[in-house]
């Protein structure tokens, strides 16, 4: 698809034919010029509607996307910590359950090992 700013303008308005939305989005994702055009058109549209004047929308976009990139790195770290925390909690829970059950289990195992055999009495008889 070639650059077509009229379609970009209609995309902003949510007025594209459904069949053409996907190719327009795909084009916007690979064409910096059209992406920038969309920013200008959006700004003017907002100004006409009575919105705030902002002098440098491009700079604002760069600033936000810079923060998002940092966020992405941070999100990666967070995911790792989340996973460790989750595993840590699971491990602690299992340990607690085992600790609770262990006397009973040991007794049962002990009984299993000696099952059927008469224990010698304490007096040796």
């Amino acid at each position: 698809m070639t650059c077509n700013p009229e379609l970009v303008s209609a995309f902003l308005d949510g007025e594209l034919e459904p069949i053409i939305v996907r190719p327009v989005v795909a084009h916007l994702l690979q064409c910096d010029d059209c992406c920038q055009t969309m920013g200008w058109l959006a700004q003017v549209k907002e100004n006409i509607a009575g919105g705030l004047f902002w002098q440098d929308p491009d700079e604002m976009t760069r600033s936000i996307m810079g923060a998002i990139k940092n966020e992405k790195v941070y999100a990666g770290h967070t995911r790792l910590f989340d996973r460790l925390r989750r595993f840590g909690v699971s491990a602690a829970l299992i340990a607690a359950v085992l600790a609770e059950l262990s006397p009973a289990l040991l007794a049962e195992m002990d009984q299993g090992l000696t099952g059927g055999m008469d224990r010698p009495s304490s007096d040796g008889r």
């Binding site: 700013p5 009229e6 303008s9 209609a10 995309f11 902003l12 308005d13 949510g14 007025e15 594209l16 459904p18 939305v21 996907r22 989005v25 916007l28 994702l29 992406c35 920038q36 969309m38 920013g39 200008w40 058109l41 959006a42 700004q43 003017v44 549209k45 907002e46 100004n47 006409i48 509607a49 009575g50 919105g51 705030l52 004047f53 902002w54 002098q55 440098d56 929308p57 491009d58 700079e59 604002m60 976009t61 600033s63 936000i64 996307m65 923060a67 998002i68 990139k69 966020e71 992405k72 999100a75």
Partner: protein, 229 residues
């Protein structure tokens, strides 16, 4: 008539119901394409700034809170289920971010304060008295130029643009009102916006070194663009 003309808070554009254009972009973001998020930012950053600027006076704080809003939106996007329009969802994040700012300062703000402005009449925003005299002058100059650029459009373009961007009508409704095909409406709106962008470009940061100060921009009449009739 469009299904989306019912009451929406000021600053929120009525959204057509059905498969949203935004949803295509959101799907790409969720698939890991960060550039797609940039499309959302470019599309809606002005609206987010406007929403926050109604609640917060300091322009630097507005900018910070807008950035915070986008970060929150980015984090929360996987939870966006598309039940409301994307901007409705984003609007809520922006207002909550601004409200939290006031709560942190020990003050509160009500939603009524957000919804009191706007209406069908076309009016440019008022100057904000918290700003420096230089900023006020620049803003006043920008508003005058915008008004002049709109007034300088061919009447058919001006009507189409105001019906769309101020009244919020759909292309189909505009086509009926102006008695022309939808394709013509689309073209008029685009060409009108394009002409305004050309006239406003010096104010919108395309020539940052030339426009940071005052009084160096050309008046629309000096641009010499031939108008269609």
């Amino acid at each position: 008539m469009s299904e989306s003309q019912t009451s929406v808070p000021d600053g929120m554009e009525p959204q057509p119901v059905g498969k949203s254009h935004d949803q295509w972009v959101i799907d790409r973001v969720l698939a890991g394409d960060q550039k797609a998020f940039e499309l959302l930012v470019r599309q809606y950053q002005g609206k987010v700034l406007s929403v926050i600027a109604r609640m917060v006076d300091d322009p630097d704080k507005v900018r910070d809170l807008a950035q915070e809003t986008w970060l929150k939106a980015y984090r929360a996007l996987p939870g966006f289920r598309g039940e409301a329009a994307f901007f409705t969802w984003l609007f809520r994040i922006a207002t909550n971010t601004a409200k939290n700012h006031w709560l942190a300062k020990g003050q509160a703000i009500s939603l009524n304060e957000l919804e009191g402005e706007g209406g069908a009449e076309y009016t440019l925003p008022q100057l904000r008295d918290h700003e420096t005299p230089e900023r006020q002058l620049l803003r006043k100059e920008m508003m005058e130029n915008l008004q002049s650029a709109i007034d300088g459009l061919v009447p058919s373009m001006k009507r189409a643009i105001l019906l769309r961007d101020v009244q919020g009508l759909s292309y189909e409704e505009i086509a009926v009102l102006l008695d022309c095909p939808i394709g013509t409406v689309r073209s008029r709106i685009f060409r009108g916006r394009q002409e305004i962008v050309q006239r406003m470009r010096s104010y919108l940061g395309n020539q940052p070194s030339a426009r940071k100060g005052l009084g160096v921009g050309r008046h629309p009449e000096q641009n010499g663009g031939e108008k269609e009739r």
